[in-house]
């Protein structure tokens, strides 16, 4: 099994997981909302191939891919079953069905659905790890649209002043929901970090190996104690922002498919390896979704009535 195989397998896991999810939504089996990672798989998979299993992650609304890639680097492995159960609102979900798609937590992985607000929290986590000399670093994921939120800049300032072990991963998929970056991001993305003296690694690629190598440098910088860093990855989101909300032209949707991280990486595997990956992922997901589907829903027990009346 090559490293290339592992990378491919995890990207494929994300791809197939998200495809399955969209199918479940379209048949009405799932309610609420979801934001798929299809097209961006190389980002998280490249990054988590060079982090430590105990590193800390604060992810955003588009967290499924981050979570599956994070788990892949962990000794315990990630569990698409627990994620699927969460998305189905089951008691066995990652957070017992309470959070759903945007709000998950498992080991050192956290996500929240408020753009920008997670960045100061991640900075605080980085401070804690630094003070406790744990050697862990904190990764926080934001999208291009999240460059609009003020909390981000407050946090960059803190992270730089206090030399925090924080890696800000900016995934520029060129759109925030339906808003193209031209309408939402003035000046330069790298400049937003440079203004605070934060070094930037920037890549325009969907090749997981290129991302891996940039991530390796950025992670080393942060772990070495040199303070925060930013990793800007220009990428493409293939599907709608959440479910049916795509306003891009068919031409654009076709054009960007040439940057499919799976297609780019696939030639590095033998056909047999690719088939093996496909079979493995397919079995894993079939099991995950069917097991999750038959799990019970949570119930509100009496002691949950009001969270804050007990001490």
């Amino acid at each position: 099994m090559t490293d290339n195989f592992a990378l491919y397998r995890t990207m494929l896991l994300i791809r197939r997981f998200e495809e399955r999810l969209l199918a479940e939504f379209s048949t009405g089996k799932l309610v609420g909302t979801t934001h798929t990672y299809i097209g961006q798989e190389a980002d998280a998979v490249g990054i988590f191939s060079v982090t430590d299993p105990d590193d800390i992650v604060f992810s955003n609304h588009r967290c499924h891919g981050h979570f599956l890639a994070y788990g892949a680097s962990s000794p315990q492995g990630s569990d698409p079953y627990r994620l699927a159960a969460e998305l189905m609102g089951k008691a066995t979900g990652l957070v017992g069905g309470r959070g759903g798609s945007q709000h998950i937590q498992w080991r050192n992985f956290y996500s929240n659905g408020i753009q920008g607000g997670i960045v100061p929290v991640a900075a605080g986590m980085a401070l804690a790890e630094k003070e406790q000399q744990s050697g862990k670093i904190v990764l926080v994921f934001i999208g291009d649209g999240t460059l609009g939120e003020g909390a981000l800049y407050e946090s960059l300032n803190l992270a730089a002043l206090w030399r925090l072990p924080l890696l800000v991963v900016l995934e520029n998929n060129r759109y925030a929901q339906t808003t193209p970056v031209e309408l939402a991001v003035a000046g330069s993305m790298a400049g937003r970090f440079a203004a605070f003296g934060i070094p930037v690694w920037e890549r325009e690629t969907s090749d997981v190996l290129e991302i891996q190598s940039a991530a390796r440098e950025a992670v080393a910088h942060v772990r070495f104690g040199a303070g925060p860093a930013a990793l800007i990855l220009h990428t493409y989101r293939f599907m709608a922002h959440s479910k049916g909300d795509d306003t891009r032209s068919p031409e654009e949707l076709t054009r960007i498919r040439q940057f499919d991280p799976l297609t780019i990486h696939a030639p590095r595997l033998s056909p047999a390896e690719r088939d093996a990956a496909e079979a493995e992922v397919s079995a894993l997901l079939a099991e995950a979704f069917s097991r999750a589907a038959s799990d019970p829903f949570p119930a509100l027990t009496t002691d949950h009535r009001t969270l804050n009346t007990e001490h």
Partner: protein
């Protein structure tokens, strides 16, 4: 069939048409998307210069609207999900709402901020809240909420015409609701009165003397009237039903009139119970009407879970209203 969404959307169209000072701003407003809940659809096509799609910057959206209002424009800002009003709290409380009085009435800040609130769609803990309660009572701010009764579009136009800042709270489930006609459908048994200008209240009077008074607003009126019907049909309990569109400042005169008859107040809202709208209603009612009994139906003091069974257990349901009404 006109829905609440149609009504609000037409109102924005006619307001932009009739007043060149009217600007709409917020995230993802441009056509063909036309806003996350489509309330602004078509506007950017007709009035491209006056529809400003913004970055994801809720505080700056509100601040910009405030500055625009101070300098002669009439901005209508949209906060994509009402859960994000926490991000505009400072701009609302310490800027927009404060300026007029703090500056000795030398300025006015005629802005409207629209915020889709509420749950019951499985959107989870950060996209389902009813946070308007945090803004009720803020000096200088009006909080207005349409329901399917009356004319939501006219209500929005009244908010736009107001010379002071208005938080306009739209429950997401309301959008697809058809406008309700008095005396029709399941309201046929109730006599409808209304008053209050320019932000009306509605009183639905049952066919027999009321045993209690139910006060509510917005989408939760849908639950309240379902409960009132059930109470009437199955338990022979008749309710006066009061539906407010002006949440703050509190003007509860019609409520007091009903309570003087019933001496039983039941408030219904979707926000969490503690210090929700119903708390102030209850406090004012007990200050005004003697011998009062009170019940409040609201969400539990918990975040709103994503999982539907949990969400249902946390948010108020028709059965909760029926049970509360029967508990007097």
């Amino acid at each position: 069939m006109t829905t609440v969404l149609d009504s609000l959307n037409s109102a924005l169209h006619s307001a932009m048409e009739s007043d060149p000072r009217l600007y709409v701003l917020g995230e993802d407003l441009l056509d063909p998307y036309g806003g996350a809940f489509k309330v602004t659809r078509g506007l950017s096509t007709r009035f491209p210069e006056r529809v400003l799609t913004t970055p994801i910057s809720e505080a700056a959206i509100l601040g910009a609207a405030t500055g625009m209002a101070l300098r002669g424009l009439r901005p209508v800002a949209e906060i994509m999900f009402g859960d994000f009003v926490t991000l505009i709290a400072d701009q609302v409380v310490n800027h927009a709402a404060k300026f007029r009085w703090m500056y000795n009435d030398q300025v006015r800040v005629p802005l409207v901020v629209r915020a889709p609130m509420g749950g019951r769609r499985g959107y989870g803990p950060t996209h389902s809240q009813s946070l308007e309660k945090m803004f009720l009572g803020v000096p200088g701010l009006k909080v207005i909420a349409p329901s399917a009764l009356g004319d939501p579009g006219a209500l929005l136009l009244a908010a736009i015409a107001d010379e002071d800042p208005v938080l306009f709270v739209e429950h997401k489930l309301l959008y697809t609701r058809p406008l309700l006609q008095a005396g029709q459908g399941d309201l046929a048994d109730f006599a409808l009165e209304s008053g209050g200008d320019p932000f009306p209240y509605f009183v639905l009077r049952p066919p027999a003397p009321p045993r209690l008074t139910v006060a509510t607003y917005g989408y939760n009126f849908e639950l309240a009237r379902a409960a009132a019907l059930e109470l009437m049909m199955e338990h022979e309990i008749f309710c006066d039903l009061l539906v407010f569109s002006q949440l703050s400042p509190f003007d509860l005169t019609p409520l007091f009139a009903s309570l003087t008859q019933t001496r039983r107040l039941l408030t219904v809202e979707e926000g969490t119970l503690t210090l929700g709208w119903g708390a102030e209603v209850a406090a004012r009612a007990v200050e005004t009407v003697s011998g009062l009994q009170v019940r409040r139906v609201a969400a539990r003091d918990l975040p709103i879970a994503n999982s539907r069974p949990l969400e249902d257990a946390i948010l108020p349901q028709v059965a909760d209203i029926v049970a509360a009404a029967r508990s007097f």
